[in-house]
Amino acid sequence: MDKLEVNVSFSYGEKQILKDVEFSARKGELLAIVGPNGAGKSTLLKCLVGILKPSGYVRLNGLDLLSLKPRERAKYISYVPQSSFPEFAFTVEEFVELGTYATRGSVEEALRKVGMWERRKELVTKLSGGEYQLVLIARALAQGSDVMLLDEPTSHLDINHALRIMNLLKGIKDEKILVAVMHDLNLALNYADRVVVLNKGQIQWSGKSSALTPEVLEGVYGVKAKIVDVEGQRVIVAWE
C-alpha cells in the first residue's frame, strides 16, 4: 500500500482544534508537518492513529483506517510518540516487543536497523534521550505497518542524534509512508520531500519543501525570515 489520503476535523467539546485538514502522503517521500505551537500538529497525528476520534477519513489505498478496530488498524499504521522519560524498566528488546504484531524476527530487524541490537539487554530507563528515541522508532518499525507517524522525533536531541534520526528516516522512506511532525524547520526543509504548514488547526500552505518561501514562514510564525544557501543546504534565518 503506497498512498495515504487524509481529511479530518476534530473538536474538543465546543472548541474546534482541526478544521478540514486535507493532504495526502506517498511511499518514497517524507512528509513533514510543521507549524507554530498550538497549531494542532500532535492532535492531527493522534487523530490519524486513532487515539482521538476525528470526523472525516484516513484512507490507505482506499481502506478507511478510522473504521477499523485498534488491533486491525495497528497492522497498517504505527506511531512514534513524543519522547518522554520511560517510566518502566523494560529491557530494550522487551520494549520493542510490546506491540501486537511484533515478532522475534521483526524485533531483531528493527533493532539492527536503528543500531541498537547489541544493546538489547539494557534497560530503557538507562538510555540517553537520543538512544531512547531510536528504540521508540524501532518499536514502531517492528510493527511492520505501511504507514509510520512520528511526533517530533528530533526534539530535545543533540544535533548528532537529530541527524542520525533524520538519516534513518531517509533510509526507510522507500519502504513506508512517513509523516513526521517537526519542530526544527531547518531539518524539515532539508530532509522532508514535502511540507504541510499547519496554523490554528488549518492548512496554511503545502507543497514541495524546496518551494517553501520566507513569506510563508513570515505569515505563519509572525517573524521576519530569510532562506539562505550554505554549502548546498537551505538554512532559515529568522528575526523579529
Binding site: I51, P70, R73, L98
Partner: protein, 332 residues
C-alpha cells in the same frame, strides 16, 4: 526461570509447614497417612468418618492453608492488574472501592444477619465496583484518573458507613472487627471451592493477556499498538473485582499482600507481566500462608488477625528489597 522455580518450591514448603503447624501436635507419620488413598477416599465419601488427626489435617488445616494460599494468589494478581491499570505501583486491589463496599456489607450483616456475613460482603463489594465504574464512565470511556478519584471518594463514604454500623452495634460486632482485619479462622472446603473458582478464572484471564497488561502501562499510546484500551480496561476492572470480592468475602480485608507482592516482584523480575504476574501470584500465596502460620502461633492458643501479620512482615521485607535495589543488586 530459576527464581520462579524457587518461588514454586517455597509455595510447596510453606503449604506443608502450614499443615504441620497448629495448636495440636501431629506426628509427621499421621500427616502422611492422612494423604493416603484410603483416608482421602474416606474423607471424600464421609468426612465425619475420619479419625482425630486425619480430621484435623484434612478438614481443618488443609482447607485453611489452601484458602490462605488462594486468597494470597488472588490479591497479588489483582494488585498486579491494578498497578498496570493505574500505571501506578502504589495502586492495590482495594483501590476501586471493593474493600469499602465489602466492609459495609459485612458490618451490616454482623448487626442483623450474622450468618450471612460473606454473602453481604460479596454483594457490598460488587455494588461498590458498579457505583465507582458508573461514576467514572464518560461517554463509554473509562479515564483511570476519574476511576481512582471515584474509588477514593467512595472509600471515605463506605468507611463512614462501616464505622457507623460498628458504633451502633458495638456490643455484638466482635466477629465483624476480626473480619475487618482479615482472618482464615473457621474456613472450610466451601470457602476453598468459592475462591478456587474466582482465582482460576481471574488469574487465567490475566496470565493469557500478559501482552495486553504490558500495553496498559503505555496508556493511550497503546491504541496505536493494537490495544482496544477501553475494552481491555473494562475486562481488567471485571477481573480485579472478581478476584478481590471473593477473597474478601471468605477471609475479610487483608491488606498489604495485594500492594506489596507485585511491587516486590517488579524489583526482582522487572515490569514484563509475562514473568511479573506468575511471580507475583506465587509470592502472594506464599506470603499469605507464612503470615497465617504466624497469626496462629504468635499468641497461642489465641489467634491474631492475619492482616496485622502481613503488614508486620511484608513492610520490612519490602524495605530490604528496596535497599538491595538501591545497591544495584537487583533488576532495575
Amino acid at each position: 526461570m530459576k527464581k520462579i522455580a524457587l518461588l514454586v518450591l517455597s509455595s510447596v514448603a510453606l503449604i506443608l509447614l502450614g499443615i504441620a503447624v497448629g495448636p495440636v501436635k501431629i506426628p509427621f507419620q499421621d500427616i502422611l497417612s492422612a494423604f493416603s488413598w484410603d483416608t482421602l477416599k474416606g474423607a471424600f465419601l464421609d468426612p465425619n468418618s475420619l479419625n482425630g488427626n486425619s480430621y484435623i489435617v484434612l478438614q481443618i488445616r488443609l482447607p485453611r492453608v489452601l484458602l490462605a494460599y488462594l486468597v494470597g494468589v488472588s490479591l497479588a494478581s489483582a494488585g498486579t492488574a491494578s498497578q498496570a491499570l493505574f500505571k501506578n505501583p502504589l495502586a492495590d486491589p482495594y483501590i476501586i472501592g471493593i474493600s469499602g463496599g465489602a466492609a459495609v456489607g459485612a458490618s451490616l450483616a454482623a448487626l442483623y444477619f450474622p450468618q450471612y456475613m460473606s454473602v453481604f460482603a460479596l454483594v457490598g463489594a460488587f455494588l461498590a465496583v458498579v457505583v465507582v465504574y458508573r461514576i467514572a464512565k464518560v461517554n463509554g470511556h473509562i479515564p483511570v484518573d476519574t476511576l481512582l478519584l471515584a474509588g477514593i471518594a467512595l472509600g471515605f463514604f463506605t468507611n463512614a458507613l462501616t464505622s457507623y454500623f460498628l458504633y451502633v452495634g458495638r456490643d455484638r460486632i466482635h466477629n465483624a472487627i476480626f473480619w475487618l482485619m482479615g482472618t482464615f479462622n473457621g474456613s472450610d472446603w466451601g470457602d476453598v471451592k468459592m475462591v478456587l473458582f474466582s482465582c482460576v478464572v481471574g488469574v487465567s484471564i490475566l496470565l493469557f493477556s500478559w501482552r495486553e497488561l504490558n500495553l496498559l502501562l503505555l496508556g493511550e499510546e497503546s491504541i496505536s499498538m493494537g490495544l482496544d484500551i477501553n475494552r481491555y480496561r473494562k475486562i481488567v476492572i471485571g477481573v480485579i473485582s472478581l478476584l478481590t470480592s471473593f477473597a474478601v468475602a471468605t477471609s475479610g480485608i487483608i491488606g498489604f499482600v495485594g500492594l506489596i507482592s507485585p511491587h516486590a516482584m517488579r524489583i526482582v523480575f522487572g515490569p514484563n507481566h509475562k514473568r511479573l504476574l506468575p511471580a507475583s501470584a506465587l509470592f502472594g500465596g506464599t506470603l499469605m500462608v507464612f503470615a497465617d502460620i504466624f497469626a496462629r502461633i504468635i499468641l497461642k492458643p489465641a489467634e491474631v488477625p492475619v492482616g496485622i501479620i502481613t503488614a508486620l512482615f511484608g513492610a520490612p521485607f519490602f524495605l530490604y528489597l528496596l535497599i538491595k535495589k538501591k545497591r544495584g543488586e537487583l533488576f532495575g
